[in-house]
Symmetry: C2
Subunit: 356 residues, 2 copies
């Protein structure tokens, strides 16, 4: 049978701890060359109403787990000005105002499709877990206070994940929308042991914070040079969140995989902002991310995250990997099979008796 | 609702004529830059029993039809010696001895997944239709006799497709296995108006044939230089089927899109034959395919297929495109929606309310 899982199913059973553990192992496998990942591609055409239709795919194989995955996003995108900042916004244009993101999981032994699931919870967990691994290898062991800039879906995963790799006692949150921020603080207070603090300015949040995690969808810097303090670890989920001067003055800057930009294939004449990938690629010109050590190198001990307690360290979680979706979705399949969760459809619906 | 179609469904309603027409239009759109296609990628790792697990993906968007597609193959592959020739063989290792090949179709207006279907019939039809378009623009208008080398699944589509673009009266078939050849001749006789002829040698089949179509899975030449005759049009579905000398002596050689090789991502140390893609890439060194005109150029009239009735012309159908799957699968969705064919599942199963 081929299993159909929902975000609700996955949210129920997937722990941030297992994501961190599985991803950490996958970086070892990737570094040794047993696991593989195919560069993300973005294929873009104009669609109605000044919108862009984007088909984004990435693939990965996790032989240790006996599974592979393809992650697919079928997005309707626009770039409105929100609170003075131009943001890339995905429009939930599918029926019932929904987004379309899928992960298909296959067996590396039989080739068969084992499961189809939405990518949302997995995406959130893998981003959080990756940032937490950056912090695990770069932040001070003793770090107890965290500032989170952002109060969205991704920010929540950052909070859960950082609390899994350090003994955090206080999480300060700032984002421009006071109402959403308060709701975020209330929600996250129920998820972690640390005390959540609602901050009305970014300065209040970051002052004396030992770890600062940016988790916004802004495509301009949200963490400014004058806020940097000795010993801090700074994390971002986009290249653009940390101002270039912050990166240039840091003692160590590491990136996720230091991959090249996504493969971009677009209709002739289509004007897409340089930061079309939503990751702030314009920053790639302002800072030499290619020269940075990568998370697999940190995990393998090839480079040290920091050399003293006063170093300022940065981890830029720059680009998702097909392999991340493969390992996290493989874990989901393993758990769902054991606990018999989700809808089941005949595998024959998704296989064939003719040689393709 | 998201529709699940089977090969049997598609075989019922999809005509080779519509495939040829839709593909022809898609080459115009591709040439003008409104339709886009993402290069195929092959991601490979070793798996049990000296086999290789391969995850192959390609994407395309057909804005004219308002749909995009991702084609996925999740293959277990080996390279046994069959009748003295080393062949790439996909093993039907999925339950009930089945293969795994899928096409997912999305709306470019809403992003939603419209359908999921196997790739087998579509793959066969798009290969046949592409070769037929090559013949339409390169073979003599008056051509009436065809030789087909091969008696497999792909050979059948070649027969149907060539009969749709020329007034063919005779189709001669050769393949090494007499029993399978006889069955093929009998089956195809029921599908086309032309007379099918069972030939016990390749020489018998190709002699005086105005069009020769190779449709084998051999990765060494099956059409030899001494068989070439003035005025012939030669088609192949792999770079390796026509001997290099045949290509070098031909007056015009065109290729499908003249794309570079597929993007190959493989586990460290994995030894895959050079012809791993199954298309005979070793031939790319023996002949300069990159200098050849492409099918879109033929369709747009930028180059002429032949300049005289005595020219020998070749069309090498070298590599599938995501766009081909997008347009043919889009046609399937349009027909299936109109006739309400297939299983229907809630679209919500394949979409999500969280921002991915």
């Amino acid at each position: 049978m081929t299993r159909i899982l929902s975000n609700e199913d996955i949210e129920q059973f997937l722990s941030i701890e297992s994501c961190i553990e599985d991803l950490e192992q996958s970086y070892r496998d990737l570094h040794e060359g047993s696991a593989v990942t195919r560069q993300r591609s973005d294929t873009l055409v104009p669609t109605s109403g000044d919108r862009i239709y984007g088909l984004k795919t990435m693939d990965g194989i996790a032989p240790r787990m006996g599974m592979s995955a393809v992650r697919i996003n079928s997005d309707i995108v626009s770039w409105p000005l929100i609170a003075g900042t131009r943001r890339r916004v995905k429009i939930p244009a599918a029926p019932n105002e929904r987004y379309t993101g899928l992960v298909l999981v296959f067996s590396t032994e039989t080739g068969e499709p084992l499961a189809i699931m939405p990518d949302g919870v997995i995406q959130r967990m893998r981003v959080g877990a990756t940032s937490a691994l950056g912090a695990k290898y770069m932040a001070r062991e003793s770090a107890k206070t965290v500032a989170v800039l952002g109060s969205g879906w991704q920010a929540g995963a950052q909070v859960m994940a950082i609390c899994a790799v350090r003994e955090i006692t206080e999480v300060r949150c700032y984002s421009p929308n006071a109402e959403r921020r308060a709701a975020f603080v209330a929600e996250m207070q129920g998820r972690v042991q640390a005390t959540l603090v609602d901050c009305s300015s970014p300065e209040q949040a970051v002052r004396d914070a030992e770890i600062v995690l940016c988790a916004t969808n802004a495509i301009e810097p949200v963490f400014l040079p004058q806020w940097t303090q000795p010993g801090q670890h700074l994390g971002s989920i986009k290249m653009s969140e940390l101002a270039p001067a912050v990166l240039k003055e840091a003692h160590q800057v590491a990136v996720h995989l230091g991959h090249s930009k996504p493969l971009l294939v677009k209709a002739q004449g289509l004007e897409v902002p340089d930061h079309s990938a939503g990751l702030g690629w314009q920053m790639a010109d302002a800072y030499d991310f290619k020269a940075c050590p990568t998370l697999p190198q940190l995990v393998m001990g090839e480079v040290q995250g920091r050399s003293s307690d006063t170093d300022v360290t940065c981890f830029v979680n720059d680009l998702g990997l097909g392999l991340q979706f493969a390992v996290v979705a493989a874990r989901c399949v393993t758990i769902a099979n054991a606990e018999n969760i989700g809808h089941q459809l005949p595998t024959d619906w998704f296989t064939e008796d003719v040689h393709p």
